[in-house]
């Protein structure tokens, strides 16, 4: 009983961490599906989102919910501008150039955050900080629960948006067949910038959801690599795949940390990435039909 409870607790905490990876991975996938770019600054967008929320909530004293909503909106605009001002310029260049650019952007974001907020770690108080829910003999932190709940809400909102709204369907259309989208009068460029906006906003959500359970620091964006592994695990083209991939990595990581000798936890995501690439390179949720570029 003791063990079962412990296991359940590990799984839930792991799933919570995994949701964060999943949400960032979702950002990777959205951008990749639309423009075949891999945005290696995705994790750093999460970091920026966290810091923007920090400066609004802890710095300016805004209410948590207001500050969080504002931070998400700010990051959405930031993502939109990032694409329409910066990334648009490398379209048509080799993949390599795009990768270098997004990696470089990550450096810039970290430096900018360091200069603005310092290199120490900061934190802000949330409604979920240091609270615990007891379910029988299992105690689960509200921080973990809020992450899982927040992720579910985010996914529901995104699902409704992409499948029900005109602009959401147009985003799918432009991601599936750019040429046809242009012929329908869909402003493909703007649509792609909006996708960047959504992607950055999702990362900001991850940063805000993470705030109750960890301190924020400039290098927290490196978590993006685990999210990248999650996206690969999920087939790098599938949004449900990215989420499941994230949760799987999160849970395995927790279990490895508890049951395996020290150090294994840190290599979980690399090992899983390698394993997937060797055993099932198309990922767990590969889509059957290649898209037309």
């Amino acid at each position: 009983m003791e063990d079962a409870a412990r296991l359940l607790q590990l799984v839930i905490n792991g799933a919570a961490g995994g949701c964060i990876y999943g949400v960032i991975a979702l950002g990777f996938v959205l951008i990749y599906k639309a423009s075949e770019m891999i945005n290696f600054a995705q994790g750093d967008l999460m970091m920026l989102g966290g810091f923007v929320a920090f400066s609004l909530i802890a710095g300016m004293g805004l209410n948590y919910w207001v500050g969080a909503a504002l931070a998400i909106a700010i990051m959405a605009v930031f993502g939109f501008l990032l694409d329409s001002v910066v990334l648009r310029r490398v379209i048509g260049q080799p993949q390599f150039a795009v990768i270098m650019l997004t990696l470089g952007l990550g450096f810039i974001f970290r430096a900018a955050a360091g200069i603005s907020f310092g290199y120490g770690s900061v934190t802000f108080v949330t409604p979920f900080t240091n609270k615990v829910e007891n379910f029988g003999d299992i105690a689960i932190g509200q921080d973990s629960l809020s992450i899982v709940f927040g992720t579910v809400v985010l996914c529901a909102v995104l699902y409704a948006f992409f499948s029900k709204t005109r602009i959401g369907i147009a985003m799918q259309a432009a991601s599936q067949n750019q040429l046809a989208a242009y012929c329908m009068g869909i402003p493909v460029r703007t649509i792609f910038s909006l996708i960047w906006g959504i992607s950055a906003a999702a990362s900001a959500v991850a940063g805000i959801l993470l705030a109750p359970s960890t301190v924020l620091d400039v290098n927290m964006g490196f978590l993006g690599f685990k999210a990248f592994a999650a996206a690969v695990l999920g087939g790098f083209g599938s949004i449900p795949g990215a989420l499941v991939g994230g949760v799987v990595i999160g849970i395995v990581e927790q279990l490895a940390g508890y049951y395996l000798p020290a150090g294994f936890q840190d290599v979980t995501w690399n090992s899983m990435l390698l394993l997937v690439l060797i055993v099932r390179p198309q990922g767990l949720f590969a889509e059957t039909q290649r898209k037309k570029v």
Binding site: A181, C183, V188, K292
Partner: protein, 259 residues
Amino acid sequence: MSVDPILRVSNIETYYGQIQAIRSVSLEVPRGRIVAVLGANGAGKSTILRTVSGLMDPERGSVSFDGKDIVHMAPDLVMRRGMCHVPEGREIFPFLTVSDNLAMGAYTRRDIDGIARDMDVCFSYFPVLRERASQRAGLLSGGEQQMLAISRALMGRPKLLLLDEPSLGLSPILVTQIFNIIRRINQEQGVSILLVEQNAHIALKTADYGYILEVGRIVLQDECRVLLEREDIREFYLGQKDTGVRGARRWKRKKLWRS
């Protein structure tokens, strides 16, 4: 030259990198008419349509649509002016349902009632699309995808419809059926049509006026009934009936990626 044609193309020259695909092509589509451009595989038919709809920029020459110069205009803006391009190889949205594909055709419109009415019109032309309305478009057969592509373009309420080889890869019965509908669309909705084809027979039967394109140049033009009577046309274009079943050729949209 007719007065105030819906489309007037003058001396356009378009390149793929260093390769010149069309050489000083001029043509006109009078309002309410069907005009066909005929030519063999690689003659430059698709390039003409891409240049007209703004997917590619010509090096020289001008394109005037409904009285306005549209050269160098982005393709989505050209579409908003009332020109719908049905590209070669159908190019549907494979993971969207048939009805979402049609809804995307009406992306630029806000009149919900009109959109619903036009969707019914499309379903009356191609009843099979109504049956398949909630299926993913990628699951349709080639002929059904062509019907969807034409219907989707109609949903944009075009003044001018550009059709790139609607007969490509379809059975003869299906070709006849689709060209009958093309004729009806022209007559019932008054849509002007510029259509390019390898299948000269069906195109000349359907269109009012025809241009013959050879290696990027227009070598002959006349009323279709005149062209149908000409010895050389009969020999070179109507002798071989095959529609040329080619695999869909991918073409890099240079211009789109550059701008």
